[in-house]
């Protein structure tokens, strides 16, 4: 479990530094795999069948379909990369580090002596870093990556505090994430077609 936590931290941390979209998607893939692995580990611990099912779904959707779709887009967006991000990678990393510290602090504050302390911290860190990436990256793909990271964080949180949600709800959540990814991918294509770039900071026409 601790290995997974380290992988998760690392992936989140890496995300703050990458500027090449393809690399970001690869990191996301790794991260999702780690989450799936966490599911399996938890399944072993609790010997609940539906944890394996959840792991499978995670692999299929978050480590399978979504990265595939993103790879496909990224393949089309040859010249796109994260240029002049709103917050430079160094600062972003710094903030991410702060977020990790904050995560640990929050857990010690709210749930002192919890068994899954590290996993929880990783979850919160993922959540915060995902949010951070959405806020400080211009590229549409990076934002999608941030969103999925955030989602992973919440999922992990669910895993570590309540051993996952009931199965029906879990299904629904996965379905939603799938559809969300589809919608976002479609919109990214459309961005590319209409704006000739997937830089979201040019979406400034609607204001006031």
């Amino acid at each position: 479990m601790n290995v997974l936590v380290i992988v998760l931290f690392l992936s989140a941390f890496l995300l703050t530094r990458v500027t090449i979209l393809r690399t970001a998607v690869i990191v996301l893939l790794l991260q999702s795999l780690a989450v799936a692995a966490a599911c399996v580990v938890l399944g072993l611990e609790t010997s609940q069948f539906h944890m394996y099912l959840a792991a499978l779904l995670t692999i299929i959707i978050k480590a399978g379909y979504i990265p595939a779709a993103l790879f496909k887009i990224v393949g089309r967006l040859r010249r796109e990369r994260e240029q002049n991000p709103i917050l430079s990678p160094n600062y972003t990393s710094l903030t991410a580090a702060l977020a990790i510290v904050l995560a640990y602090g929050l857990i010690d504050q709210a749930l002192p002596g919890v068994v899954t302390r590290n996993a929880l911290a990783a979850a919160i860190a993922l959540l915060l870093i995902g949010l951070l990436i959405i806020m400080v990256r211009r590229q549409a793909v990076m934002q999608i990556v941030g969103l999925i990271t955030m989602e992973n964080g919440i999922y992990l949180l669910g895993l570590s505090v309540v051993k996952g949600l009931p199965l029906v709800i879990e299904f629904g959540v996965f379905l939603d994430i799938l559809v969300a990814a589809v919608v976002l991918v479609i919109l990214t294509y459309r961005l590319k077609i209409s704006f000739l770039s997937t830089d979201t900071t040019q979406l400034r026409k609607l204001k006031g």
Partner: protein, 490 residues
Amino acid sequence: MQVLMYLIVIIPLVGALLSYVQKNRNGLRIVNFVASVAMTGLALVLVYQTARHGALRYGMFYIDELSGLLLTVVSILTLTATLYSFSYMEREVVQGHLAAARLPGYYAMLNILSFTMVAVLLVENLGLMWVAVEATTLASALLVAFQLNRTAIEAAWKYVMVCTVGICFALLGTILLYYTQVNVAGSAIEALSWLQLAALSERLDPVMVKLAFIFILIGYGTKAGLAPMHTWLPDAHSQAPSPVSGLLSGSLLSCAMYVIIRNLIIVQNTLGQAFGQYLLIGFGLLSVAIAIPFILLQHDIKRLLAYSSVEHMGLITLGLGIGTPLAVYGALLHIFNHAVAKSALFYLAGDITQEYHTKHILRIRGLITAMPLTGTLFMLFIIAAVGVPPFGIFTSKMTITWASFAAGQPVLGFFILLLLSGIFAGMIFYCAKMVLGAPAQPVRKAQSGALSQIAFLLSFLIIAGAGIYLPTWFNGMLLRAAALVSGGGY
């Protein structure tokens, strides 16, 4: 009854399927007309039964007075939106904004949207509710982007990003709530059933519930357009095709508010009223206040209406925050009134923009001369929307204000009134600019399609009627729903 409930869920799905495979435009119309009328009719029957006989539960499906009210809103708006869509989309095609081949896709999405909204209302589970709410975002996102021009895509992007992030927060909150439930009752019990949660609520861990509610409120509040998470709202509502704008503003926001109310009931039981009150009143006041500058200085007719929605959502939140049965009654009534009035306003705005080929307020003049029926109705609906009798919004607005005074918060009540008059100033100003005066271009009397006129008049009758008389069963339903919310417990 059970069949009824399933049918209400299934009909839109079937409608979506049939629309998608339908190539014939007339067939498309018939399918959608039948589907929307059938769904609305059945939903109203169900609501009436609920109002008469109390809550009904079948498996995961549940309907009580609160969801009954929202179901009324959603079904009526589905009907009017569908009716209005016929002529609106037809004209879009005629004017060349849209390829005729995309119409089946539109109607399919529209049906899916109403399916998701009905699902939000009928499931008896916070988790599934979350799923359904997220589904509404996704279903409507493609509708927002339907025109596929730059602004529409921009709006859709912001819509999806902001709302999904928000809804992630809501998921976090829901998980935390689940955590408290598991802690108290173990995992044997039905997870995240809000009936169960409410029953357990007094034993839940207050600290966690507090945390959960903050995330839930901010998460669903994003969806409900509460400031300062409302930023996506004017973009999405102004860029969507007008029937969709109406549906988004009228029923989707209401659905998000409904989810907040469901959570609120549990939280209030655990924490007492004060905690939720502070948050709700804070967000409510901020929403009403933040809408003012945007309404005072606005050049886009649909954004004007969208900001007005922000304001109304704020008002509803205020009503919930004040929390007395009277205030909640006012808030619930306001949900209903606002939905009917605002959707009709969006439809009318759609007609107007199609006729004038612009959304810019200052380029629209002399509506009442150029489009007598549309212009008159637009003015009346604006008057209704700013809360002037004899329209329903006045009653609900004043009920909320009065409740605030009666609850011993006169300063808050006064501020509500004052802020609302700021909104009033902007809305009436731009309304007068558009509706009155002599039209700039030579007058060519334009009319909307017959079906859309029916939709307008239906909305008008409802909103005018609601100001004068509420049927006893409906009123009783509202009262019981209000008692549910403020009394806590089912």
